[in-house]
């Protein structure tokens, strides 16, 4: 290999995945530069954050998976406590209590909970003897592990993050081998329970669901987000209207053009080509993640790797479905691409852990 001259730790980095990550983040700074009207207002902090978190991910990749396994439950407890603190002390941001001010940064503990719930569930199932997998004891502890933080996040209220925590936990349960009929039953139960749960939603959440189903009914009200987002994506065509030429984002028609709806900002200026490029880059990262999972030998690593990969998947999928009008507007950013540090931190933690597991896989493969 041409890179043979490099020391092994560097040579053995997952280069394709890292190139994809850097490409996404680089593209992000371009789009944010345009979204700010040709200024570095968003692009510069975003770039600096990326470098910081990228370094953090590399640092995490040097740890051994055993360490995560040990840290899973303590981390879970700490994050849970932080969630409670948010309820008690957190100040109101964007109409919902989601942040706790730690002096230097506004920490969003619900964001941390996304990788932590994966690690905690993975650890739980790695402890569970194989024969127990079809018993009650395989379900209720996991249900509690997932249910408590999800409930706390839901009352913040943050439907999007709560959904992701539940999905992440369920993914690990599914991969751990719980009987399929449980999931089939669960889906049947949801079909019945959803209409009832709907009546407990906040007005604005209910409104979002209604509008999601038919955004054109309220183009200037709550449906505005989805309608404007589709207009931005739709007017981009195959190759977009050109860098810095987007009128939807620059004219202020597109809401939150640099955060949740940054994909639409990108799509207007770069078109379908830019969109396919992004989706492809994320798909390569996800494929790498699933490979890491299937290559793992021990149960914890397998479950954690697949779960973390799926967490990244949920981010991307929910955000893209949202901006394309396939899911309600729930406030999930596009990781690495949207302006903001929380999601980037989460995803970088996920990638760091995945790289650490991959290093272990390589070691074990060398060992035979």
């Amino acid at each position: 290999m041409a890179l043979g001259f490099l020391p092994r730790p560097i040579r053995e980095l997952p280069w394709l995945m890292l190139i994809c990550v850097v490409a996404i983040a680089g593209f992000s700074t371009l789009v944010l530069y345009s979204a700010a009207g040709g200024r570095m207002t968003y692009a510069q902090p975003q770039g600096m954050r990326f470098v910081l978190f990228f370094g953090m991910a590399i640092a995490i990749s040097r740890l051994r998976p055993e360490w995560f396994k040990k840290a899973a439950f303590p981390a879970y407890v700490v994050t849970l406590v932080l969630l409670v603190v948010v309820e008690a002390l957190g100040f109101v941001g964007g109409g919902a209590q989601r942040w706790v001010n730690l002096g230097i940064i506004n920490l969003q503990p619900s964001e941390l909970m996304k990788p932590v719930i994966i690690l905690a569930c993975a650890h739980f199932y790695s402890l569970l003897p194989a024969r127990e997998i079809r018993g009650w004891s395989a379900i209720w502890p996991a249900a509690l592990l997932i249910g408590i933080p999800a409930g706390l996040i839901l009352i913040q209220p943050d439907l999007g993050t709560a959904t992701m925590v539940v999905f992440g936990g369920l993914t690990v349960m599914f991969l751990a081998g719980l009987p399929l009929r449980l999931f089939a039953g669960g889906i049947a139960f949801l079909a019945v329970a959803l209409p009832i749960a709907f009546s407990f939603l906040h007005d604005y959440q209910r409104q979002r669901v209604f509008i999601f189903m038919n955004p054109e009914t309220d183009p200037l009200g709550t449906g505005y987000h989805i309608t404007q987002s589709k207009i931005a994506i739709g007017s981009g065509g195959l190759t977009g209207v050109g860098f810095l030429n987007g009128t939807q984002s620059h004219g202020g028609y597109l809401p939150e053009p640099h955060t949740d709806f940054v994909f639409a900002t990108m799509a207007e200026e770069w078109g379908l080509a830019g969109g396919i490029f992004l989706i492809l880059a994320f798909a390569l990262i996800l494929r790498w993640g699933m490979r890491v999972a299937t290559d793992s030998r021990d149960r914890f690593s397998r479950l954690a790797a697949a779960g973390l990969t799926t967490t990244i998947f949920f981010y991307v999928a929910i955000n893209l479905m949202m901006v394309m009008g396939l899911a309600p507007v729930v406030g999930i950013p596009l990781p690495l691409f949207s302006y903001g540090g929380s999601a980037m931190m989460t995803v970088m933690i996920c990638l760091g852990v995945l790289m650490a597991i991959e290093r272990q896989n390589r070691r074990e493969a060398r060992r035979g």
Binding site: R134, L175, S235
Partner: protein
Amino acid sequence: MKRRRFGGGPPVTEAGQTQSFSRRAFVLGTLQSGVAVLLAGRMGYIAIAQNERYRDLAESNRVQTRLIPPRRGWIVDRHGHPMAINRADIRVDLIPDFIEDKDRLIAELTRLLALPPEEVQRIRADLERGEGFQPVPVAEHLTEQQYYSVKVHEPDLSGVSVLEGYSRSYPAGAAVGHLLGYVGTPNQRDYDAENRNPLLITPGFKVGKEGLEKVMEQRLRGRPGAARVEVTARGRLVRQLQTLPDVSGNALRTTIDAELQAFAARRLGEESGSCVILDCNNGDILALASMPAYDPNSFSDGISHSEWAMMREDERHPLINKTLNALYPPGSTFKPAVAMALMEAGVDPDETVSCGGGYTLGSRRFGCLGVHGPMNLHRAIAKSCNTYFYTMGRRIGIERFSAMAKRLGLGQRYDLPVVSQSYGTIPDPAWKQRRYRQEWSQADTLNAAIGQGYVILNPLQLAVMAARVASGRDVQPRLVLDRYPPARPLPFAAASFEAVRSGMAEVVNGNGTAGASRLPLDGIQMAGKTGTAQVRNIGADRGRAGAAWRYRDHGLFVFFAPVVQPRYAGAVVIEHGLGGARAAAPVACDVMTFLFDKAKAEERLAPLEAQWGGNIAERMARRAAAWANRPAGAPAPGDPA
């Protein structure tokens, strides 16, 4: 211990679990790929298949059509001299919907435009109660420097609209105030009345609010132009794309003689009164002056609350058009109409009535202003002898002379483009029965015969009467210059007209009540009739010079000139002027002089204006300043203390 199980079959082993994991991870991976394909497909559908639709939507988002207010048609006088024109102007408005930080914005504008505190308060009040769509005017007539200073800051001032447009200007100022009215920003009622016409909420667009501007609105308005502009979601202009020019409104040519109108208004001076001049052969209104008046220029800019309060509380009523909307007992100016009725009723004009200073009806004494001795029709008009008109009026009866009065235009409503006209009363028994459910009495007839009692009229009607007497034609007053069929002769004997006209000529040029107001011209004489209308009947010295101004008698004068082949007729009413000969006739004399010899008339007016303290605009400015600087807490004039 028996464990409840969800699955039957053999117990799960570690190896089985690994297999199951591989299967399920594969399913999950496939699912993820499926979603990726779905998303790519969805994006392709939106961006490619529906590209055209969304491009159109983006376009309609971005591109707005903005109306360009049409230039309003000019109002010109009969000679084409401009009376209401448009002046290039720069104005600043606020669009409430687009304002981000109201307080900062107002503070910034106050600094840039040096807005007085009163204006700032008004802008705040307008913003409070305004509907988001309706622009709130901030300032008009910006100087070049102000324009550039606002323009430079415009990108940071969301919600501010700076427009280069036109504003209405009235060169004659207050002299044409009541006649032309003024324009103003449409209010909610205007907007609703026109089915929410978007033009009405376009910044800078104004509609007629009074006078001809209001009545002739549709004719003067024109068709708006349109500009396609690229805007941001907050309404800020990005660039202009395309412009369709406006079509300006049609000019309106009035019958008014602008110079005469201005002169009449000036000649009214400090008095509260009105002057109407007609072409007595065709009814063209040459002057329709009512003073004091508001300056339509300042009204069109939006009048301040203090200016408004000053006008409302002025006992000279600058807000009322006294040619049309003020009613007065005509007093002796009614006598030409009664005299016409006497002639038509067959009264011999040479028959004399001996005036012993009054007339006795039962136990009541009806006074005359003098002891005139034997009076015939001619001398009775010249001397304005009440006794003659009591006697003769009673002889022919109320029905006959009230019918004549109506035929001569009194108490009538005319087909004129005016916002409103008060047409007063020519009483008769049927009217009294209807109005008061009372029998008509002989005393009522006597009062009516000298233009008192129930008779009330507006000055335009008196001018029409004078015109009909002068020309013998059924002239209709009109304000818009156009081709009209000639006025038909009135069905009365030429001798009747001759008798009344010669009596009226005697009033001014012979041994009559207005001898002091002869025209200072060679070969042109004016005929007229004085009148004094009681404001209050309080004892012997009612309404005399010693009384408070507002209890003094009104002075009236109706007239025409020349005496031979009359061309012009008119009426002057001076409120609380004490008497027709004293207050009204001199005004009429000077205004009629102006029609024949402008230089001479100006010569006569110059010393008067010097005495009053300047021209109309100067006097109004002084008055406004005095009002603004009045001691705080002092009761406003006319305040019910």
